[in-house]
Structure formats: structure tokens, C-alpha cells
Amino acid sequence: MRVNGINIEMPKISIGNESLRKSEMIDKSGNNGFSNTLTASLGESGDNGFGDTLIAAIEDINKVQVQSDKAVEGMLVGKERNIHETMVALEKADISLKLMVAVKNKAMDAYTTIMRMQ
């Protein structure tokens, strides 16, 4: 295009098909898109490293959270007749979330300790 008489070459910006497909998968399904995003961000390492373990753990916890959401929704809609099952699902989600936060804190502490080791 011409700006002030100078030909400026605009760089071709194209969103790669890979990332578009992955972000599509987030919208369609719950868990699958989640792990695909994680795999994309952690790198396609392929070996059973720390990344895979982390992804598996977070997927489990996400499953529990989704179950708890469904339980609360069921109770509000009136489909679930047992109040205590909803409460137990809520407690499970709470405990697993706290567990994940504790693991994250420990990992961060380890990381900062190592980084401080100048």
C-alpha cells in the first residue's frame, strides 16, 4: 500500500490453522480442549515428563469440578432429589481444588528456592 508516496510492504499475518483448531476444541467440549491447550503451551515433548503428569492431575481435578457444577445445577433445576449428594460433590470439588493449590504452592516454593541459588 502507498503511504506518503512510499510503498510499504505489509507483512502477511495469518492465524495458523493449528491454533484455530485448538481454540475451536475449547468451545465444543470441556475437558478435551483444556488438555489440548495445556499440551500446546507445555510443548509437545512426547515423553512422560513432568508436563504429562501435571496435565493428568489437572484433568482429574477439572473433572471433579465439572461434576460438582452439574450436581449444583441438577439440584437447582429440581432433577436431583438428594440434597446430600450435591453437598458431597461440592465438598469433593473443594478438597481437590485445595489439593491442587497446595501442590502449586510447593512447586512454586521449590522453583523460587532454586532461582535464589545464584
Binding site: N82, H84, E85, E91, I95, N105
Partner: protein
């Protein structure tokens, strides 16, 4: 078994007690019902508890059945109470009216048992939850 299985087991106990409570409520409400759709007076209903295996349990505990379910709802086989009242519309040929074989006092006792059992299961869930939280306190 992990800590969540314990909560699931107690949750199944609470479900069974809630269903039993429904039957007790029905018995108390129908204590003087002389007419039912299938004919005759209301028959007292009771639940049969059975030990079931929960679906989430793993292979190691596959043979044990720690959860609770209700296998069937049985009707009491006792004879209905007969009271002499010829003017009642449901009186039979000799003038006797058949009242249900429900003893309200017994149903009240069953109701207290069901309530206490429900509370005991809830306390057990609380205990399992506290155990998990204490374990989480190790790391923080």
C-alpha cells in the same frame, strides 16, 4: 479406598434413609386410609436394605459391598384392624370396617431411628472431610 469413597458410602446410606423416611411418612399419613386404588385398606410399607457395591470402587474392593441400597419395598403381611361400624361406606357385609395395620407409635419410633441414622451418616461425612483437611494442612 480413598477418602472420597468413604464419603460416597455414607452418601448412599443417607439416600437409603431418606427413602425409608418417605415410606414412614406414607405410613403415618395413611394410618386411617380404608380405601386404596387396588381395593382394601392401606397396607403398611417397609423397605429392605441391601449391601451394594458402589460403581466407583476399584478392582481391589470389587468383592466387598460397603454401600447401601434398597432392594425392594415390601408390604406388611399382618391382618388389618377390624372395627365395627355399619354406617361407614367401606363396611363389609358383617358391618366391620378394615383399618390399616399401621401403629402410629411404632412409626414414630422408626422415624426417630431414620433421623438419627441420617445424622450419623452426615457426621461420618464430616469426619472424612476433616481428615482430608487435616492432611492438607501438612503442606501449608
Amino acid at each position: 479406598m480413598d477418602i472420597f469413597t468413604s464419603m460416597e458410602i455414607n452418601s448412599s446410606g443417607m439416600s437409603a434413609e431418606r427413602k425409608r423416611m418417605n415410606l414412614i411418612s406414607s405410613n403415618i399419613a395413611n394410618a386411617r386410609t380404608t380405601r386404596t386404588p387396588e381395593g382394601g385398606p392401606y397396607k403398611r410399607q417397609d423397605a429392605v436394605f441391601v449391601a451394594i457395591a458402589l460403581p466407583q470402587m476399584g478392582e481391589e474392593d470389587g468383592n466387598r459391598a460397603p454401600g447401601v441400597g434398597i432392594s425392594e419395598i415390601i408390604e406388611d403381611k399382618n391382618e388389618p384392624r377390624l372395627l365395627y361400624d355399619p354406617s361407614h361406606p367401606d363396611a363389609n357385609a358383617e358391618g366391620y370396617v378394615a383399618y390399616p395395620n399401621v401403629s402410629v407409635v411404632e412409626e414414630m419410633v422408626n422415624m426417630i431411628t431414620a433421623t438419627k441414622s441420617y445424622e450419623a451418616n452426615a457426621t461420618s461425612i464430616q469426619a472424612a472431610k476433616d481428615m482430608a483437611k487435616k492432611a492438607l494442612n501438612i503442606a501449608s
